[in-house]
Symmetry: C2
């Protein structure tokens, strides 16, 4: 049966949504299967649909090429089965570059080829506090920040007190029904993911975490419930082009699950996500124990999402696994009483430069207490630190340079040298004899770029100001 | 035959010197053996003597208990053999605490029991430049500094141009005779070791190093020549109570020698030194490769003389080997073009606090270039950095505390907590319920100590200024 949908035109990498009415009796979340096969010429894609409460069913689809797409539904229930239709996919509008993918082993690019360098931040529960005002403040802060990725959790923690809108039906631990979902929770979350998309920000969704300690019962679910939750999340959210899957935060702190469990859940995500969004898992391991990190060489992992406080190890992680390095947690700027949340802005800025200059990416976070808004990493709100503007400066420097700055360094055409706490009075450089170079001195803290007089070639000596946190940008000009 | 010596009284741990005239023909350094057996009651000690040129032979001895000591010489040459005499050993004068020894596994104390905490610095070649003025400036600088140990080399480097007084006979690489020594070189060196002793400074003598690269031919000598040199050095210098033996600097950079060679030379030192001065060897290994460090558990090693840039590893080194940790090289404050010589004073101060608070000791060094005097680590002269006065402050804090601050921390009577780059707004402490404590806030950079109001007990919260480089000193008062 051919059906009409009001929205007949959708741009490439935007979301087509098919809304259907169907059975309401029983537990439709469990009882009814639904998907749709979308077809453009000989290319087909079959995303799963989902029950959205009140007898409403939806199938969402993100088309990746312009033209007429036809679809037909498949369902275990006859009123939802065999429904067909079509829509027109138009070319992407300005600012829509598609989904972020891995490129050239260690880098990222949007699907249209535009380079993407993650400058992420973390606001784990910014959508969970039920305050529209705070959420809009967070969005405003993000808009004025250098951050183009946000790590955010779906599931509640022990510290979040009922009544609360959560992913599952119910608002208290006592009445939580993990056989049903909460459409209002997801509708709200989707609005915020969409808001981020409008700001050009990737939503790095943390699907599990170990912070519930059995209170809501969401970190010790059985394998079937985990899978049920995961498929529902994918059916609802995979069609947002700015979504990344972070299977778990600090997975090794969850005592109910083992590495084979995470393998299985990552593989499930790989199987059900039609768009193959970026997939990783994030460790919480003690320092200096790289052997207990998740094995990022596993084929379902797209990039290395690392917690570690030593950006210097980026070099060895690149050697270990040829996938992008994203140090999502490297300690937060702040004054928290916890070790992970009280480094200075100078130190965080330093770790960003150290990681980037070694060919990795670093994530930001802030946890100041006793300020107007609560810790940014958990609630969003305002930023108070000194690192944010320096990260904006670094992002500008990186985006002015080549997309693959490690390769150009090898080729001798562009190189970023960062000296951290070393405070040279001068430096001997070995440049190519047959080329000439322009060199600029970058003060990473003062955020200044000063061209050094003249041009450079071959063995040369560069005078430096004998201060820490300096960098050199060396560019071939002939 | 009984002989008379002009100097008949020597205080405990000072130097008794027996001067004899003997054969001048041939090569007395090689041809003549000489020692003397010193006896006090049933205690005997037999140091080797040495040829001092011009037909003069000497035997030096450091008595370790007061009373009448009798001696008799033993020699391969009849005029030096069987000479006997005695001297009176008097109690040590003020400021003379004897030789430094290892105490309680991880600590040091002078022989009379006075605690000794090494706050060392490095001036590798301060005695080698032939400038009395510069050497006296160095001594003046040391006198006004917190440093109570100096690392200093005996052998020349490639960069030191002839003509030069060196340990061996001759002044140029071409005429160097490694079968004979240079008494003038040693007399000068001994004067400087004595000068350090007068200032209460230990002379951490670096006996070999890898910086000659074959130029003077002193880093690739054969096993016999190495032993010949080593025995001569011990015969001349072991009777200075402030001497430590550092067999080699950056031993792993010397391509002519292997670990078994160093084992042998360390064992030789152990065999010939009658006083068992502290003995170690210092690595030059790349970072993060602790497996290539010298195995400090070997029985002839008294303490761990480490080069590493991460003071945080002190904890693991203590776990690995129960001997004192002395991080003699942790990078130098300065503006050198070399990575090891250009960290900020803030960073070096931080590394000192990090190492000390973890139960190790840290060494200082400075390598500013383009200043009035050349780099301190090689030539001595003046100090320009910002760390020196902070190290003096730290030394004062440490010496005000218990000698074994790691043990008192376990016992809950005295504890030093250092936070480095963490900038807490507050901290939750777990103190003993049945005791009360005084807590002081230490600003390690501003060098202030501020008592926190009131007393503390059990679980308590301490407000902190939210700035990096803070420490807490917690002392039980009841």
């Amino acid at each position: 049966m051919a059906i009409e949908q009001s929205r007949r035109e959708v741009e490439q990498w935007a979301q087509f949504e098919l809304t259907l009415k169907g059975p309401i009796e029983g537990n439709p979340y469990l009882d009814v299967t639904l998907s749709a096969r979308f077809q453009y010429k000989n290319y087909t894609c079959e995303p799963e649909g989902f029950y959205d409460g009140d007898g409403t069913y939806r199938v969402r689809f993100m088309p990746d090429r312009p033209g007429i797409w036809r679809y037909v539904t498949l369902s275990s229930h006859e009123v939802l089965d065999g429904l067909s239709g079509e829509f027109l996919c138009t070319p992407p509008s300005a600012g829509n570059h598609g989904t972020v993918r891995v490129k050239d082993e260690y880098l990222f690019a949007y699907e249209d080829g535009t380079p993407y360098m993650p400058f992420g931040t973390t606001c784990y529960h910014w959508t969970h506090h039920g305050s529209k005002e705070l959420e809009e403040l967070t969005l405003q802060t993000l808009k004025n920040s250098p951050f183009n990725k946000v790590r955010m959790c779906l599931l509640p923690t022990r510290d979040m007190q009922p009544p609360l809108q959560v992913a599952f039906a119910g608002t208290c631990p006592e009445d939580l029904d993990k056989q049903q979902f909460n459409p209002a929770f997801f509708a709200h979350l989707e609005q915020r993911i969409h808001d981020l998309m409008q700001l050009g920000i990737e939503a790095d969704l943390v699907l599990f975490h170990p912070y519930d300690k059995g209170y809501w019962g969401v970190d010790n679910m059985d394998a079937d419930t985990d899978a049920f939750y995961l498929r529902y999340v994918i059916a609802r959210l995979a069609s947002f082009r700015n979504v990344w899957w972070s299977l778990c935060n600090e997975y090794d702190f969850n005592k109910y699950k083992s590495i084979p469990d995470w393998d299985r859940l990552l593989q499930l995500t790989q199987r059900y996500d039609p768009y193959q969004h970026l997939r990783s898992i994030h460790n919480g391991t003690k320092m200096y124990k790289s052997s207990s990190l998740y094995d990022f060489s596993k084929p379902w992992i797209t990039h290395q999402s690392i917690q570690h406080w030593e950006a210097e190890l980026t070099t060895s992680w690149r050697e270990a696994v040829a996938k992008p390095i994203v140090i999502d947690e490297i300690s937060y700027e702040g004054n928290s009483s916890r070790r992970w949340g009280n480094i200075s802005g100078e130190e965080l800025t330093h770790r960003f430069w150290e990681g980037l200059s070694r060919g990795g990416f670093v994530g930001h976070g802030e946890s100041f207490i006793n300020r107007e808004t609560r810790a940014w990493i958990s609630s969003g709100g305002k930023l108070y630190g000194e690192s944010t503007e320096r990260i904006a400066f670094l992002r500008k420097v990186m985006e002015e340079g080549p997309a693959d700055w490690m390769k150009t360094a090898e080729e001798g055409t562009y190189k970023l040298l960062y000296f951290g706490r070393h405070q040279h009075a001068f430096l001997n450089l070995e440049l190519r004899q047959d080329s000439s170079y322009r060199i600029e001195l970058i003060d990473t803290w003062q955020m200044t770029i000063t061209p050094l007089p003249g041009t450079f070639s071959g063995s040369c000596r560069v005078d430096l100001p004998g201060k820490p946190f300096m960098a050199l940008r060396i560019q071939k000009i002939g």
